[in-house]
Amino acid sequence: MEPDSQLVAQCLRGEAAAWEELVRRHTRRVYNLAYRFTSNRQEAEDLSQEVFLRIYRTLASYRAVHGEFTTWLTSVTRNLLIDHYRRTRRDRLTDSIDEEGSPAEHKAAPGRRPDESASASELSAQVQHALTKISPELREAVILRDLQGLDYREIQQVLSVPEGTVKSRINRGRIELARLLTQMGVTGDRA
């Protein structure tokens, strides 16, 4: 398999097949990051298109010496997600007021353990619901570290914050996520 940097060079020479390969290779990563952040499939799809459109237009600015293509791609995705979050903040506040009092869609039965009855996809949905409740700074840190599998150095590059801040956000994000899941009755097997 050709490395991303080589595909980028071929793209810049006008080879459409190289661009297609780049898109096919990274669509899943971008879409998952967008979906985990927004919890909305349509928004995630639109954002994925927006991300690749920006990548396509700014491909010439990518320099392999400055880091992996995936880190650059994740950084662009994250910036667009934050922009999108700020743009849609008012809509979400209205939605959350409307939702108050209605039964939570993703709440599990109290005391039910995932190992007993919830499948991995069910847990995924519960985690997704809990992720929407934590602040975007903590959410993105947890998503990048635990769902996208980036290491601390890569997250530091993507978020442009010091390593101490990255660690602190991941720690706080996990704690908030764990508390929210406990409130939802989703707990680990501690036997």
């Binding site: 459409a16 097949a17 661009w19 297609e20 898109v23 096919r24 669509t27 899943r28 879409y31 998952n32 979906y35 985990r36 499939r41 995630a44 799809e45 994925s48 298109q49 690749f52 459109l53 396509y56 995932p114 991995a120 996809s121 847990l123 995924s124 985690v127 947890v142 635990d146 769902l147 599998g149 660690k167 602190s168 991941i170 720690n171 706080r172 996990r174 704690i175 996520l177 764990a178 508390r179 899941l181 406990t182 707990t187 680990g188 097997d189 501690r190």
Partner: protein, 215 residues
């Protein structure tokens, strides 16, 4: 310094990843031993941190890749531009090489069948009448060779079967021995006649010579 719940939360990730100094680790574990809330929180964080990397990824909607390509390069469904590099890559592909080999083999077989020397091809070779004559001649020659080969084989098998029959016949009684100048038994005579009939065949002649010695 008194280790509080705030300290436990701040250092929880480092503790769970084994990054704490021994002194801090001892304080953390002492706190967890006496604080049920922190203990439960640590267990829940450990559990969810272990599960998150293994959650199934969200399935990408069908057609998203094509929509992205359409929105960016707009190359979906279009044929790539033909360049010298793409042409060369196509010529060097295994499929093309195999096709080329098949065509070459077919041409070789045709030249052989039409008795055409590839080094001396003239316009007469391409005349349909000459092509027909050459093909007809080759066909007859091939047929004649085949028939001769089959006939040779038949003679050989016939001799073998006769010999097997002769060896299976019981030995004659001594009183009924035939005189030296008497004609050969009917079966032996017939065999010789058959062999002589096919005497033109080299294989049959060799077999006959061997048979004569044996008889």
């Amino acid at each position: 310094m008194t280790w509080t719940c705030i300290h436990s939360e701040e250092r929880l990730a480092d503790y769970l990843e084994g990054q704490l100094e021994p002194a801090e680790r001892a304080q953390m574990e002492a706190h967890l031993a006496e604080c049920a809330a922190c203990r439960e929180l640590a267990a829940q964080v450990r559990w969810i941190s272990g599960r998150l990397p293994h959650l199934p990824p969200e399935v990408v909607p069908p057609g998203l890749v094509y929509r992205i390509l359409e929105a960016t390069s707009g190359t979906v469904g279009r044929k790539p531009a033909i360049t010298w590099k793409t042409v060369l890559a196509g010529l060097l592909s295994p499929r093309f090489a195999l096709g080329l080999g098949t065509v070459a083999a077919t041409v070789f077989i045709l030249f052989q069948a039409l008795d055409i020397n590839p080094r001396k091809i003239t316009m007469d070779n391409l005349n349909p009448v000459n092509l027909y004559r050459a093909a007809d001649q080759q066909a007859h020659l091939t047929y004649a060779r085949g028939m001769r080969f089959v006939n040779d084989l038949r003679v050989v098998y016939e001799i073998r079967s006769r010999l097997e029959e002769a060896s299976a016949t019981p030995a004659p009684v001594p009183e009924q021995q035939t005189p030296k100048n008497a004609p050969a038994p009917q079966s032996e005579q017939k065999l010789k006649n058959d062999l002589l009939r096919h005497g033109s065949s080299l294989t049959a002649a060799i077999t006959l010579a061997g048979l004569g010695g044996g008889l």
